[in-house]
Amino acid sequence: MSKLMTMRDAVAHYVPDGASIAAGVALEPLIPFAFGHELIRQQKRELTLIGPISDMLFDQLIGAGCVSRIQAAWVGNVSEGLGHCYRRAIEKGVPRSLMVQEFSNHTIGLALLAASLGAPFIPTRSLLGSDIPRQNPHFLLSSSPLDGSPVLLVPALRPDVALISVQRSDEQGNAHLWGNLGISQEAMLAAQTVILVAEEIVAREVIASDPNRVIGPSYKVRAVVHEPWGAHPSAVQGYYNRDHAMFADYHQRTRTQEGYRAWLEEWVLSVPDRAAYVQKLGQERLASLRVREHRYAAQVDYGY
């Protein structure tokens, strides 16, 4: 029973307005820009975005007015700095105001981990003394029943949807992820619904040949989207490198709301899907980003 579908269909079927979505969970690589751009084209509204460091994707979705709430550790542009759309939303309510619940990378991961373990919360000593727990009502300052010492309780966070980007998947959603993992597994296991985006679709036997490399159980996956270059301009280990220039260009052009609208028109609204986006990038740019040197993992024998 194949779960393959287009990004358009996956977003239309599995991302309702108002959904909470974990995305960009591998940190800087494997950011699902193709997914984000489709959310914008379908004018999804009132979304909650959940993530660790969120490099540029969250800023784009905020600028497009899709988002009402952020539960994340960082919103900006990792190699460039501030996120201008994020700033405009918070400082000026443009294009709309935003509720921010600030986390750190560890605590957003713990919140998803707790959900993945069916644990109501996980206690940590991180962020004690920080203002973050005062700002974010998701947290509860408490004391350990073991010795009375202060602890921060991080309640479980269960996203409606997790968008998991991988290198390769079979049609059922059994998938291999390698390189940076970030909080991909925690997000997948915590979510109600999983949408997988893969650079390559492969036979089930390829995945089953190395079950330790599988990122999570395919029974959670509702849609498998085959989307080559789906993470551009972020990197996919073994497939393509980060397009630093695109991050710099976005940063420059989106200093004003008008600049952002023009950028959006050029790279999202006037582009029907990722195939068209890839064509727009052009062969030369794609070639400059492709893997220059292959580095294969040492052989592993599962025989018996």
């Binding site: 750190s104 991180s126 973050i132 700002q135 630093h244």
Partner: protein, 263 residues
């Protein structure tokens, strides 16, 4: 032999490298600390280990300059590439001797703000990106080194929002400093160095206050005071910052030949 021509950031890299001791597990950030790790590794701390919150452990610097810690070259020759929670969990358990972070604002007690300038409850003046892993590193590393541009609007008597806890504030239960960290329940840690474009500060663990330890060649205590919104206190041994050696500069420039981070 001390060098004479170097950029302020090159000096900062050298100062940061001096905080790393051999054999330590160092939570490396991006940009300058990354260069400091590479420099320490090739000089006095060949056995130090670098940890990255993306989930990476390395014992060699990346062979290429990184724009993000998740860039592919940072995975190549890594000793371990795991999940973020697992890696930060090891820091929570006490495995990280030294962490580096930066910030938009800092105050005299080493508290850092990377979240909001202005009133965080209502519409703030500037929305900054947020903690990332910074607040975790400030909370959990055994020692914290902070790297920042030295500008008066960043060096404030009190930050608008404590993203990453330093030594807190004096309150009705006691002073700032190590005792404040104990009071709020932090398991260890606190800033040991604040490395700026103008100076290096250490911290008094009793009061939590930053003490001017050294001023960079070409600056003066007066100039530093001008760019600092609290009355400076000097460390007893306060003196000029030791400049980089030619060898240190050579190694830094090998890592960043085009001055992407150090120009």
């Amino acid at each position: 032999m001390p060098a004479t021509h170097y950029s302020p950031r090159e000096l900062m890299v050298v100062c940061a490298a001096r905080e790393i001791r051999d054999g330590e597990n160092v939570f490396v950030g991006m940009r300058l600390p990354l260069l400091a790790f590479a420099l320490a590794k090739r000089t006095h701390a060949p056995n130090c280990i670098g940890l990255f919150e993306a989930g990476i452990v390395r014992d060699t610097p990346s062979s290429e300059l990184l724009y993000t810690m998740g860039d592919a070259p940072n995975i190549t020759d890594a000793l371990w590439t795991t999940g973020t929670v697992t890696l930060l969990g090891l820091m929570a358990a006490g495995d990280v001797q030294l962490g580096f972070i930066g910030g938009a604002e800092i105050d005299r007690y080493g508290n850092l703000n990377t979240s909001v300038i202005g009133n965080w409850r209502d519409r703030p003046r500037v929305r900054l990106p947020g903690s990332g892993g910074g607040a975790d590193i400030a909370s959990l590393a055994q020692r914290l080194a902070i790297i920042m541009p030295h500008e008066r609007h960043r060096f404030r008597e009190r930050v608008d929002f404590v993203t990453s806890p330093g030594y807190g504030y004096p309150d009705e239960h006691g002073p700032a400093g190590v005792s404040w960290r104990k009071r709020v329940g932090l398991p260890r840690g606190g800033p040991v160095a604040l490395i700026t474009t103008m100076a290096v500060f250490i911290f008094d663990p009793e009061t939590g206050e930053a003490l001017l330890q050294s001023y960079h060649p070409g600056t003066s205590i007066e100039q530093i005071q001008e760019q600092t919104d609290w009355p400076l206190r000097l460390a007893p041994s306060c003196r000029e910052t030791k400049p980089p050696t030619e060898e240190e500069l050579r190694l830094i420039r090998e890592c960043d030949p085009h001055g992407v981070w150090t120009a």
